[in-house]
Amino acid sequence: MAEQYATRLAYGDALAEYGSKEDVVVLDADLACCTMSGNFADKYPERFRNIGIAEANMMSIAAGIATTGKNVFASSFAMFAAGRAWEQVRNSIGYPRLNVKVVGTHSGVSVGEDGATHQALEDIAIMRAIPGMLVVSPSDAIETKAAVKALMDYEGPAYLRVGRIPADIINDTPDYKFELFKGYEMREGNDAAILATGLMVQEALKAHDILKAQGINARIIDIHTIKPLDEEIVLKAAKETGAIITVEEHNILGGLGGAVAELLSEKCPTRLLRIGMKDEFGKSGKPQDLFKKFGLNADNISQQVITFINK
């Protein structure tokens, strides 16, 4: 069994590991213990400020700090970082194009037992709708650390989406290379292409094996940068496979599925299946049970892919 490592923990570890640069400032809204930004706070207390339970204030404070030339990471649960503080992110950070990294942890239904009020399923859509906002959703701890490192070198507003639960390490391969803006092909295949993001990449990889046992070769592409979308890799997959499946722990409206649908319908109309939350809220339960219930585990995904390509 693969080593397990939560992407939120990787976020906190990466801040501590790469945060030695004097311009890096980290803020949290009374969740440093959960977003794991506390790991940075322990190491660099002089460059960490807890803003308390006030996400709107935190985002505008982040903007003010960024005007002085600093690179600010402001984290909370995705529901509040992206949701509650959306208009602050839009007007105080996005419009003046300030160098703030909005970080939403505990995204998707895999939040688990805390239930629907804490399961952000709209954050990709609303962050993506802000002009100039980069949206990054890494697949495992290794990719999260690479993304944090890359965002430290990126100047401008960005949204980083990570999850709560310990998740498989899938990128511990010698040839793994993270590039912002680039999709990452993890498995070859020409019968269909599964474009997945976040923790769904792990399920997609397992689905690949299930499908392969049935003679279906599904290409697996990790879309960690949802905006701007790597058009080249998506269009190539569309042309070579003729069947695209998107998988995300997010509403199928406006997220990865939405972004891919927009691209394909304009540049390369292709059969498309969007797997994700079907315009519904989550609920309490164990993460794996929720994946199963909402059609997001490897078994569900592979079944949906088979039905789709046989239509």
């Binding site: 400032v25 002089e46 460059r47 400020r49 803003i51 308390g52 006030a54 709107a56 204030n57 935190m58 985002m59 505008s60 404070i61 982040a62 903007a63 003010g64 700090i65 960024a66 005007t67 002085t68 030339g69 600093k70 208009e87 602050q88 007007n91 105080s92 419009y95 003046p96």
Partner: protein, 279 residues
């Protein structure tokens, strides 16, 4: 403050009023009432109080201003043009499609420290700047101007709490207490009173002044600078539309431009005032 300096600031404020009126009448729209109520404060900040460098607007050691009530861009652009951050001629293009002077304040304009417009966010941004000064151990000061209607926004009080918590004595918040908001008297729409006691309870030093009296304005800034371990809130009692008699204390002048006749009447009144100040 000596009488000559005070007189010179009053003269400058009259020119800033003319600039603001010019911008609004040229655009045919804009927020003149609340601009005129903060003109004296802005003039005192840029022509007396704040360390700024017109030749190097992004100078790292500068004092900063966040005009949280960003709709009062005519006043801020008026004072920045008067100071020489950009040519006064640009004011006539205010709100036009090819102009950099948009309806609400934008950071891309020389001399502007933060984009604002969506009410309630500017004090937080100012808190961020003040926190950054502390991290860098530099001594610049940060000023934020809010409307009295604006402080109905809950985020203002989140920001007030955080500034008190972090003992930001390099931060000064100014409430433009002109008693009017778009829909009428603030006491009728949603009373924020008592304003000074609210800031006091969030661990701020508070000062109540006449926001059109240059001596009181400058004195309040001095007191704020001497106050250690606490941010300072200056509650400035002001008159919306100050300086143009037919605009004074009329909510209807919140967001409307004068026509040509009204503009000429306003200019004459301010010019007469200028003559009076000059003696």
């Amino acid at each position: 403050m000596d009488a000559t300096k005070s007189k010179s600031l009053r003269e400058t404020a009259a020119h800033v009023r003319l600039n603001a009126l010019k911008a609004v009448v040229s655009a045919g729209s804009g927020h003149i009432g609340g601009s005129l109520s903060i003109t004296d404060i802005l003039t005192a900040l840029y022509f007396h109080q704040m360390k700024v460098d017109v030749k190097n607007p992004k100078w790292e050691g500068r004092d900063r201003l966040v005009l949280s009530k960003g709709h009062c861009s005519p006043a801020l652009y008026g004072v920045l043009a008067e100071k020489g951050f950009f040519p006064k001629e640009e004011l006539k293009d205010f709100r036009q499609i090819d102009s950099r002077l948009s309806g609400h304040v934008e950071i891309s304009v020389p001399g502007v420290d933060m984009s604002t417009g969506s009410l309630g966010q500017g004090l937080s941004a100012a808190v961020g700047m003040a926190l950054a000064a502390g991290m860098d151990k530099v001594d610049y000061r940060v000023y934020a101007i809010m409307g009295d209607g604006e402080i109905e926004e809950g985020q203002i009080w989140e920001a007030a709490m955080s500034a008190g918590h972090y003992k930001l004595d390099n931060l000064v918040a100014i409430v433009d207490n002109n008693n009017l908001q778009i829909d009428g008297q603030i006491t009728d729409v949603m009373s924020p009173y008592p304003i000074d006691k609210k800031f006091d309870s969030f661990n701020w030093n508070t000062i109540v002044i006449d926001g059109h009296d240059m001596d009181q304005i400058i004195d309040a800034f001095d007191q704020a600078e001497k106050t250690k371990g606490k941010p300072t809130a200056i509650i400035a009692k002001t008159v919306k539309g100050k300086g143009v008699s037919f605009m004074e204390n009329v909510a209807g002048w919140h967001g409307k431009a004068p026509d040509q006749t009204q503009y000429e009447a306003a200019v004459s009144e301010i010019e007469a005032y200028l003559e009076e100040v000059r003696g």
